[in-house]
């Protein structure tokens, strides 16, 4: 791949995107290239590791494992870009904590020394969506200019998820009660962003709850789906493959357990951007989604 793009990042993949929704990975690479952002493989990266399931057991191991991933990017001399809120929680937050807490950093480096690595604190971590929104890197206008098949006539609801913007006081995104920046990006694709009740509510899957008590997690998801449907959305977009899994496969599980059907297509923002830039559903492996996206795809033909 060309190495002359203006902005290049180590692409941290995580687990769910490459191993369950590879369309997210493929579209992230292709859509970003069209926006002058190059995503390079981060060789040897692991799970971020899962902030809920893994961090709940032992935070110190969570710090050390995330730090190992950070070291790989430090060795490349590249900032990390990623496409998952869960990964953001681990990779961004541990980077932030280690940069600002000497005691924590020393502890982590003691462990990393056993595998001949050292965390130095030389890189930054970004969610790809925030890079798209950032005028210095890309900006909404550039995203709009890259569109060749506007999503005109569709209504798209946005799920921000939790771990990108919250906790607000430790992040840099501002308002977490009713943010609108992702809606701006959706609007840039020609779709109409719709507002719905309790937009910032969690998908229900986080903190290990999906694995611990599936029905409890699904009940939270179900509440969101009711609110989104009520607003007349044709699809839901998000920036987290784990939320995507919960909304997408979750709809099948909700049908099985609660007898309710929503048929709401769930698309990662990169998949949505891919469609708007003219990628075909096959190039995005949309058929891997549990919920049939045909209704939405027909609207944009």
């Amino acid at each position: 791949m060309a190495t002359h793009m203006e902005h290049s990042y180590a692409f941290f993949l995580g687990c769910i995107a490459p191993n369950r929704y590879p369309g997210c990975e493929a579209s992230a690479i292709k859509t970003s290239a069209k926006l002058g952002i190059e995503l390079l493989p981060l060789k040897g990266a692991s799970c971020c590791p899962a902030p809920g399931a893994f961090g709940s057991i032992d935070l110190n191991v969570w710090y050390a494992m995330a730090a190992r991933n950070l070291c790989l990017a430090e060795e490349m001399g590249k900032d990390i870009a990623l496409i998952c809120n869960g990964c953001y929680k681990s990779i961004w937050e541990v980077n932030h904590k280690l940069k600002h807490n000497d005691e924590l950093r020393d502890g982590v480096n003691e462990v990393l020394a056993e595998i001949d690595m050292q965390y130095k604190g030389t890189i930054n971590v970004w969610h790809l969506a925030e890079l798209y929104y950032d005028d210095k890197i890309c900006g909404v206008k550039k995203v709009a200019d890259s569109v060749t098949r506007p999503l005109t006539g569709t209504k798209v609801a946005v799920h921000y998820g939790c771990h990108l913007m919250k906790p607000q006081k430790d992040r840099h995104f501002g308002d977490t009660e009713n943010p609108m920046w992702l809606e701006e990006l959706v609007g840039a694709l020609g779709a109409e962003p719709v507002q719905y009740r309790n937009k910032m509510q969690c998908c229900g899957a986080g903190g290990g709850v999906r694995g611990y008590d599936l029905l409890h997690a699904l009940d939270i998801t179900n509440e969101k789906l009711i609110n989104i449907k009520e607003a007349g959305a044709d699809a839901l977009t998000e920036v987290c493959p784990f939320c995507q899994l919960q909304f997408d496969r979750g709809q099948v599980e909700i049908a099985q357990n609660f007898g309710k059907k929503y048929n709401l297509p769930i698309l990662h923002f990169n998949e949505l951007l891919g469609l708007a830039q003219g990628m075909t559903p096959a190039e995005l492996a949309i058929d891997l989604h549990a919920v049939d996206c045909t209704s939405f795809l027909e609207k944009i033909q």
Binding site: L13, C15, I16, P18, N19, R20, P22, G23, E25, A26, P41, L42, K43, G44, A45, S46, C47, P49, A50, G52, A53, F54, G55, S56, I57, D58, N60, V61, A64, M65, R68, V111, L112, E114, I115, M117, C162, H163, K166, P167, Q168, K169, T176, Q201, C202, G204, G206, G207, G208, V209, G211, Y212, D213, H216, A217, I220, E223, E283, A285, L288
Partner: protein, 192 residues
């Protein structure tokens, strides 16, 4: 180990009893929660904004404010044996709204760490994630159906992670072994 077991009458009665017994208090517990969480849990004035913001509260007996009270009063056993401890989705809504600038979510994370450390029941799925990451580097590993789709998309069959470069896995195992985490997970899961 729990299954989410609310069918233990003795535990249920104990958790239902909201009286405060000085003898149940363990000051060290409060201090440890504060240290591990890195948040000012002792500043909580029990206003309930956290519970009011919590997506788990309306559909269960889980009350984050109750756990905050336990943190302040040092009610270790009550906190660590309550199956509700594992119903927090870590959404941080409570943390964004707490008028005292506390991060109740991180109090829950600290308590979960302490539950594991002190041998209290920990849900299986958390430990299985540890095992999977130890073995493959991924909490959610690749599979053949997905490999075929990746190929179709023009991606390598395995992502350029530990899946393609397994030589990185021993380093990961060293980190996890440093904390004896895998051995503990194996032990607890085999006691099933």
């Amino acid at each position: 180990m729990v299954e989410k077991n609310y069918g233990n009458p003795e535990l249920e009665n104990k958790l239902r009893d909201r009286n405060y017994y000085v003898t149940d208090s363990n000051k060290d517990f409060s201090a440890e929660v504060k240290k591990l969480s890195g948040t000012i849990s002792h500043m909580c004035y029990q206003c309930g904004t956290c519970t009011g913001s919590c997506p788990s509260a309306p559909r269960s007996s889980y009350r984050i404010r109750v756990f905050m009270r336990r943190a302040i009063l040092g009610l270790e056993e009550e906190a660590l044996s309550d199956p509700d401890l594992w119903l927090c989705t870590t959404c941080y809504s409570c943390s964004d709204r707490c008028p005292r600038d506390i991060l109740p979510t991180d109090v829950i994370m600290a308590m979960r760490n302490l539950a594991f450390k002190t041998g209290h029941a920990v849900p299986k799925n958390f430990l299985q994630t540890v095992q999977l990451i130890y073995k493959t580097g991924h909490g959610v590993p690749n599979n053949d159906a997905n490999r075929a789709v990746r190929e179709r998309l023009g991606l390598p069959r395995d992502p350029p992670t530990t899946h393609t470069y397994p030589e990185y896995i021993p380093g990961i195992q060293k980190i996890i072994d440093h904390y004896n985490l895998k051995a503990e997970a194996d032990r607890i899961l085999s006691e099933e």
